[in-house]
Each structure stands twice: as structure tokens, then as C-alpha cells.
Symmetry: C2
Subunit: 307 residues, 2 copies
């Protein structure tokens, strides 16, 4: 029988404070966010996407970005990154001395049109000066490609369309390509097809995968991607970003789910499960609802029953 070949370690970016909380209907105070981000920074993840320097009218949940970023701890070894949509955002990010920024576009014209009111080309033009400025300032830049598998408006997305955007991002000078299954419908086969298509331009080992778990296959996709060479994943503590009562709004792959599996597979994530569980319980308490990540809740109970 053919057996699994897993990497010895992977790198985890917890995007919960940004991608998770920006999609949460429940408002969260700056104090809660700060405590949450500090907990995540001490959980062992390599990077925390702290917030987004976006227009407060566009994403009210992140209106306190500057206040939050200025007050969080600096934990040695942890990259504190933030989403930056344009030059105004870059100015704010620079004032906060972020370690790394993320720019974003999508592989679907319908998605960029509906979400950022421009074409893919215009989105690239909009953040090209940001990428240049970050490069001069010596800051790393992540380039998100949303809808890398499917688009909520246009349906399935051709990997060739993703490759076009990846090539443009690399030409602009981004340091990291982050492929996002924004609506969480990918199967392992979709991920494989995508990685194969992108391989001539960026190898799986250089790609970050950003999975949502709508179709319940995010963990299967991540494990398959690991076998194909991917070593970097975005997750969110507690599976934040989805609301269990709002069908269609599913969160990121839960940090707990990926870490638990990696622990059992002997793949080092650097993450301490108890610290993630604590952070997860904290933010879920603040949101006032049960966790999306089932591992978070049930594993604790099973562990204690076995004691």
C-alpha cells in the first residue's frame, strides 16, 4: 500500500484577528482583540495577521486597527502582519511598524468587482505602489489570491486564471503567494490541480494555502497539500469567521484542527495546543457562542475522560 509522506514541520499564520473577526457579526472590543492577539502570539504560531488598515466604513469591525496594533505586545520571533489595501493603508501600517503586509486581489473579476469595486487589473495597479514602498522599507509582502478555487458569484475558477494573477503578483515583487479558497469548497483534487498549474511559477514549498471549511474538507485539503510539498498554512483559532447559525458563512480552517492532526502525524507546527485552546475559549466567550472548531471543545473533554 502507498503510504503518506509528511513534512517534518509546517508554518502556521493565525489570521483569526483579521479574517475571522472582520466577518463576525458580533462586535468585539479593542481590549478583547488585544488580549486575543497577545494570546495567539504566545501560542507558538509563526505569524499573526493582526488586523487590516482598511477604510473603517468598508470594514467597521476593523475600524480600531491602529489602536489595536499600537497596543499589542511585541513577542520575539512572531511576525505581526496586517492587510493593506492601498497607499493610505500603507501609511498607517508603516506608522505602526508592522513586520509584514498583505495585499489582496482575486482570480475572479466578479469577486473583485463586488468586493473591492474594481477589476483585477485595477486592484493590481492600486497596490503596486504599496508593494514598491514596502520593498524600499524592507518589509515582506504577502499577496493574496482570493477565489483561487471558486467564486461565490462566478462558480468554479479555472486554475489558469489563478496562474495569470500569480504571475502578475510575482512581477510586482510580492514575497509570498497566498492562494485562498475563500468560500471553502475545495476538494484535495482542486488543490492539487491548482498547485500543479502554479508550479512553473511558484513551487508548492513557496506557497501559502488559505482554506475555509464550508465543505468540511479543509483539513483533507491541507493534509493533501502537505504531501504535495506545501509548508505554510493560514488558519484561525477556533475556526473563527463562520457563524454556526448563518449557513454560507464558514470560517477558516481551525488552528486546533490542523495542529491536532499535525501532532498525531509527527509534523512540527511549533504551536502549543493548550495555548490555542485558551485563546479559542477566550474569543468564543467574547463572541458568546459555541466554537466552530469541534476539536477545540471535544478533544478537551475526551482527554479529560481518558485521564
Amino acid at each position: 500500500m502507498r503510504t503518506m509522506s509528511m513534512p517534518s514541520s509546517i508554518r502556521i499564520t493565525d489570521v483569526g484577528p483579521r479574517d475571522g473577526l472582520q466577518n463576525e457579526p458580533t462586535p468585539v472590543s479593542s481590549e478583547v482583540k488585544i488580549a486575543f492577539i497577545n494570546q495567539l502570539q504566545r501560542s507558538g504560531v509563526a505569524e499573526v495577521e493582526v488586523t487590516g488598515f482598511v477604510h473603517p466604513e468598508w470594514v467597521p469591525q476593523l475600524a480600531d486597527a491602529d489602536d489595536v496594533f499600537s497596543r499589542i505586545d511585541r513577542v520575539p520571533g512572531v511576525v505581526r502582519s496586517a492587510l493593506v489595501p492601498n497607499e493610505a493603508g500603507w501609511d498607517r501600517a508603516q506608522a505602526m511598524d508592522v513586520d509584514k503586509i498583505a495585499v489582496f486581489t482575486a482570480a475572479s473579476e466578479q469577486f473583485t468587482h463586488k468586493n473591492i469595486n474594481c477589476t483585477i487589473e485595477e486592484s493590481l495597479d492600486r497596490f503596486a505602489p504599496v508593494v514598491r514602498a514596502a520593498s524600499i522599507a524592507g518589509k515582506a509582502v504577502r499577496g493574496y489570491v482570493s477565489c483561487a478555487v471558486a467564486c461565490p458569484y462566478a462558480g468554479p475558477v479555472d486554475p489558469a486564471a489563478v496562474v495569470d494573477v500569480v504571475v502578475r503578483l510575482l512581477d510586482l515583487g510580492v514575497d509570498e503567494i497566498d492562494l485562498g479558497d475563500t468560500i471553502g469548497v475545495a476538494t484535495p483534487h482542486d488543490i492539487e490541480r491548482l498547485l500543479v498549474a502554479c508550479a512553473p511559477h511558484v513551487s508548492p514549498a513557496e506557497v501559502t494555502l488559505h482554506l475555509h471549511d464550508t465543505g468540511h474538507a479543509a483539513l483533507a485539503c491541507a493534509l493533501h497539500a502537505m504531501q504535495l510539498g506545501v509548508r505554510s498554512f493560514d488558519t484561525s483559532c477556533g475556526g473563527l469567521g463562520g457563524c454556526p447559525y448563518a449557513p454560507g458563512a464558514s470560517g477558516n480552517l481551525a488552528t486546533e484542527d490542523l495542529v491536532r492532526c499535525c501532532e498525531m502525524l509527527g509534523v512540527d507546527t511549533g504551536v502549543a495546543m493548550p495555548a490555542v485552546r485558551e485563546a479559542s475559549a477566550w474569543i468564543e466567550g467574547a463572541l458568546g457562542r459555541p466554537p466552530v472548531s469541534r476539536t477545540g471543545a471535544t478533544w478537551t473533554q475526551l482527554s479529560s475522560e481518558q485521564g
Copy 2:
């Protein structure tokens, strides 16, 4: 890059009416069960585990087993099976003309002790005459091995302990080995280790996998098992058997989750997704709570948004 090799088809047994409903805290009327089972029989699954002929004091949720079995439809081509713990259960099953029976034991002494109040050896002795009688009556027998990966009381289970039980079941004459991750904590690597250990006695192509989704990795396990040659899976419509408000009590791998992934991977299940969704909505309406299977709810919405 190494690519996925998937089977052309798999066989699905929906165990929701038995394994799902026997663990539901909400009582369900016989009428609701009958309608649910009939819907499942018409969903395209190969087999429905209809109920268990167990003592009503032991599992009150299945106290109406005879009434339910006598009133459900007979749908050509669909196997109607039932759990049978002992000779009294066999007499009831035979009176109902079930197509196939399932006997069960576990790979953990602690589990059999707490759940059926006997040793593994005693459990085998108890159903040995049932297997013989079924064989004489020309009925197929499935042999469940619970706790094939871990036990809620004893923790991780050695694959060698599973092999011992598998060999005993085969010696008794069961027709099908069903390996159960009863508490839903398996990773794909656990499944691989288990299948490799069992292979000298029963090949992956002859094994049925019974996965629960506590650790959120059931789908990853199923997809990996398919690559290793497994062609038969137990699932439950809607991910029944778990309660979202009761941590630790997680249901089976949801039929919808497996079928959706198989559809996208080109693996034939024979199952019509709309029929499963309808059955899922029906039983969830009866239980009065949102679905455990996220695919069930969210995929419908995404599909309609793309319309």
C-alpha cells in the same frame, strides 16, 4: 508532484437511523423514523442500517425497532440491515426478514466492559450462535470492531489488538469487517497504520470504515483510505449522532460531506445529493436543531447564489 489516485466508485451505508438516532437526546417518533428511512432508501445509498434489535431498556431510542422495520418500504437494490446483539435480537431480526445483520464488539476491553458489560471474548461467544444462524438463513453478517483507533476509556488502541479481534470475527464467519473510529479522533496516518496491520487478514478493498468526526478529520481519513484501497464507508445523513451543544458527542462522517467530495473527485457513490439534503432537512426539522454537517446547509446556499 505525486497525484491522487481515487477509485471509480465507493459503497455507502447510511447508519444514521441506527447509530445516529440511538445517540440523539431528542426522542423521534416511529413515523418520523419511517419517513426518514424511506427517504434514505431512495437517496441512492447501497445500504441503510435501519435499527438495532437491542433490549429496549438498553437503548430506549430503538425500542420501536420491530414496529419501524415492519413498516418501512422495501426499495429494490437497497440492503436493509440491522444491529443484532444476541440470539433474542436475531429472532426479532429474522421475523422482520432483514437482509443483513451486524454484530459488534470492540478492540478495547474497557469499552466492552462499560458498554456491553462483558469481555471481548464473552462478546464473541455471545454472538457466535447468531453468526451461525444467520449463515444458515443465508443472511450476510457485518462484524463491527469499535474503538479500532482509540477508546474513550483506555486512550489509543494498538492496531495489533484490532487485528486479534478481526481474526476472531473472520474465524466466526462474518462476511464483512467494519472498523470503527467510535470516538472520531483518527488521523489519516492512524487509518493507514490500521489498514496495513489488518491487510494480511483482510484487504482494504474488503474493509468498511466507520468514521466519526469529532476531530474534524473524518473526511481526510476517508479520502486517504480511498487511496489505500477502501471502497466501503459508513456515513450518516446530516452527520447525525452528534449534538452541537454537547461537546464530546460527535456524529458520524456526514453523508453529504463524503458525497460532495466524491462528486467533485469523480468517484461514483450512486447517491443523489438533493435526496440526501431533503432527508437531512427532514430529520433535522424533527430534531429541532441546525445540521451538524455544514455541507448540507451551506452548499445549498452557495449553489443558489451562483445561479
